[in-house]
């Protein structure tokens, strides 16, 4: 990790003349592979399975983009990044796209010269503690030792939360979720804090999930989304509209099961434009007509991806909550395809 920060900084400094401004789309096409930055392993979001195939909610975005751009959702090289290395990896051109539980914030969008292509999960920061500690609210954590992943927004929220509530705590900085899990289970910290979705995913991987509780307080807003480099707007558009296509597909009832059927033509012109049977939206972002169809077919629409990776039927068991469609009282709202 250390090495890649250094190498990353060096690369930023010396070897990528123009990479940032150059057309990422052309690079990806020429390479025939999408370099997608993901986390180092968080089951449900991005983790390799027993056969080494990456799967998860974030991975599905990488696959959808690869399907839209390259026509093959398996043409992705997954680059594990830590909280510390992820933005350097993106800025240096090591990855084309970062989908790693990354929160959209003002400074990251502006000062770090990144662009968030949207939000694929509306989240907030929570705390997890052992049940036998007898804690029922984060406000009772005065004096506790807290494990926290460094290089994250959660690190700053944590400091603010304890200060605002006039409590003290002892931070233990960790590098990856796996390390945090190990420290927490060994009792090196009383509480583990990160995005609530990450906590649920982490807890689901424990041998005894029932002995750990996630406290009710959500202390921050963490809109998580895919990130690209600032300055390459064409590439940013592709990622943004691929994500929108997945969300819109759910809204209009386009699923991986009926997509072949629907792409023969429907009564709904919006669906027709989305699937490329009417007009040629793809050409406007440098792709072909069927880009969105392939993206949706890769892993299903947003709802299918959610249900398959982190939904209530999975061990992670997250409810849609804020991440329901706007028609269902959630925040998901894809702009019109026209």
């Amino acid at each position: 990790m250390k090495k890649s920060v250094f190498l990353g900084a060096l690369t930023v400094a010396s070897f990528v003349a123009g990479a940032a401004a150059a057309a990422t789309l052309d690079d990806v096409k020429a390479r025939g592979e999408l370099n997608c930055g993901v986390n180092t392993g968080l089951v449900g979001f991005a983790a390799p399975d027993a056969n080494g195939n990456w799967a998860g909610f974030d991975v599905a975005i990488c696959k959808a983009v690869a399907a839209a751009v390259l026509g093959d959702s398996s043409k992705v090289k997954y680059v594990p990044t830590t909280g510390q290395t992820r933005f350097t990896a993106l800025a240096s051109g090591e990855i084309d796209l970062l989908v790693r539980n990354s929160t959209w914030t003002f400074t990251r969008d502006t000062d770090l010269k990144l662009d968030f292509a949207g939000v694929n999960y509306y989240d907030g920061q929570g705390f997890m503690v052992r049940r036998d500690l007898g804690v029922s609210s984060a406000k009772e954590l005065d004096g506790a030792t807290v494990c926290i992943q460094t290089g994250t927004t959660t690190e700053l929220n944590l400091a603010d939360f304890f200060k605002a509530n006039n409590m003290s705590y002892q931070p233990i900085a960790i590098d990856t979720n796996a390390e945090g899990e190990q420290q927490y289970l060994a009792g090196a910290c009383d509480a583990y804090t990160t995005d609530a979705s990450g906590l649920a995913a982490t807890r689901a991987a424990f041998a005894d999930p029932e002995n750990h509780i996630i406290l009710p307080e959500i202390i921050s807003k963490e809109p998580l989304g895919p990130v690209v480099r600032h300055g390459d707007n064409e590439w940013g558009d592709i990622v943004r509209w691929t994500l929108n296509a997945l969300v819109a597909a759910e809204e209009y009832g386009v699923t991986s099961a009926n997509i072949e059927e629907l792409s023969k033509g429907t009564q709904n012109p919006e669906v027709n434009r989305l699937l490329g049977t009417e007009g040629d939206l793809g050409a406007m972002i440098g792709l072909d007509k069927e880009w969105a169809k392939r993206a949706i077919a890769a892993g299903g629409n947003y709802g299918e991806i959610f249900a398959a990776n982190i939904g209530e039927q999975t061990p992670i068991g997250l409810a849609r909550g804020l991440n329901a469609q706007w028609t269902q009282g959630g925040l998901l709202y894809a702009p019109p395809f026209r």
């Binding site: 250390k2 930023v12 010396s14 990479a19 909280g83 010269k113 506790a144 931070p171 060994a186 090196a188």
Partner: protein
């Protein structure tokens, strides 16, 4: 007619720059220098270009912004409202602390093991060889992780010290009359408190300077006592026994001064999640310190051994012939000479240890790399500035260490008269 002895007229041809040995080395140096400068210029230019492409500037202003994060171990006051600059200082001091402790311990271990490795006792010598080989040949990071794992997995969690109201007992108990608690996060030891301390002077706390003054007074009286004993011995031939008076003079005064200021121990006590009160020495520090000292100690041991072996055997034999005991031969004859061989490579080991301390990130010890090169770098996105600054600071620390050690080296090296 020309004189045969007259040297040919000095003409200069360009090819002489290469073929003439008088010029060749200069030519090569000039060429290499130009290549080097061109390379450096290319790097700098490329950096400027790329920063422009990325839309970033080169600016250290971020150091004065609010840091916003908390640090576990701080030697100077620091809160998340402090600046990134202060966070950097906290990290720097943590680096210096662990490096200093590490250098001292590595030297002690190294001398001890290096000497024992040459012991004529077969078992002792072999054990020391085992230590050296095991620590020298496994990467430091692994040692850090192994020792950390032992600390976190083997020691009880602080919660184990909680007294169960039902049974009136706790799962773990404190050591040394309930004053010290070993946990998997830190070792809680008693702190010292004073109920009515004297005011501080020049930044030294009241109890500290007053105790120092009392100690100095005791030392002074003691030297008078010794002088008096010597006078009596010279006059009468028998030296009066002074050891009990010395003992009293060296202990009583400062103890009395501290006692008068209301000295008492602040014993850590378990409270909900952690121990409160006393001093908490974090395991991150202890683990890093142990791993760095044991690892570097193995190298120092080899240097010490080499230094000792460089002294000819005749010296030992001569000293033995004079009737010196083996321990004294080592400390009075061999080691002082061996130091001359030992110091220069020892400096390198100190430098290595200091730089290796940047592996602190593995145990979450917030050193320079953890604060400036870790969280600050990340939260501000100032990779280039942070890394350059960090390199500069490590360079400064290293130059400082070699400077001090070189002074020492000059003091012990062979004086040529």
């Amino acid at each position: 007619m020309t004189d045969v002895d007259m040297p040919p007229k000095q003409t200069f041809r360009l090819s002489q720059l290469i073929y003439d040995t008088r010029y060749r080395s200069l030519t090569i140096q000039v060429v290499v220098f130009m290549l080097f400068m061109a390379g450096a210029a290319w790097l700098v230019d490329n950096t400027i270009q790329n920063l422009k492409v990325l839309g970033k500037d080169f600016n250290f202003g971020f150091l004065w912004n609010r840091a916003g994060y908390d640090i576990g171990q701080t030697l100077i006051p620091y809160t998340n409202d402090s600046t990134h600059f202060r966070a950097m200082l906290v990290g720097l001091l943590n680096t210096l602390l662990v490096s200093f402790l590490g250098c001292v311990a590595a030297t002690v271990i190294g001398i001890f093991v290096g000497v024992l490795r040459l012991s004529s006792n077969w078992l002792v010598a072999r054990l020391m060889t085992l230590y050296v080989e095991v620590f020298r040949n496994v990467p430091l990071l692994l040692w850090i992780l192994v020792i950390y794992a032992i600390f976190t997995e083997v020691m009880p969690v602080p919660n184990a010290f909680r007294v169960n109201p039902a049974t009136g007992e706790a799962a773990a108990s404190m050591l040394f009359f309930d004053t010290v608690a070993l946990t998997n996060r830190y070792t809680a030891i008693p702190g010292v408190l004073f109920s009515n301390p004297l005011p501080g002077i020049l930044g030294l706390a009241g109890p500290l300077w007053s105790a120092l003054v009392a100690l100095a007074g005791g030392l002074f009286l003691n030297s008078r006592l010794k002088a008096r004993a010597t006078r009596i011995q010279e006059a009468t031939g028998t030296r009066p026994s002074t050891w009990w008076a010395t003992l009293l003079l060296l202990t009583l005064p400062w103890m009395a001064v501290l006692w008068a200021q209301g000295f008492h121990l602040d014993v850590p006590a378990f409270n909900r999640f952690n121990f409160q009160g006393g001093i908490k020495v974090t395991n991150a520090l202890v683990v890093l310190w142990l791993a760095l000292s044991l690892y570097t100690g193995a190298f120092v041991a080899e240097i010490v051994r080499a230094g000792i072996m460089a002294i000819s055997k005749g010296q030992t034999e001569a000293a033995a012939a004079l009737g010196l005991r083996p321990g004294r031969i080592m400390s009075l004859v061999i080691l002082p000479q061996a130091l001359r061989v030992i110091i220069p490579p020892l400096i390198s080991q100190f430098l290595n240890l200091t730089k290796n301390s940047s592996l602190a990130i593995a145990v979450g010890y917030m050193d320079l790399r953890g604060t400036l090169g870790g969280i600050t770098l990340n939260q501000t996105g100032r990779e280039l500035e942070a890394i350059l600054l960090m390199m500069g600071l490590y360079l400064a620390i290293s130059l400082g260490i070699s400077g001090v050690m070189n002074v020492y080296n000059n003091a012990v090296k062979l004086k040529e008269r």
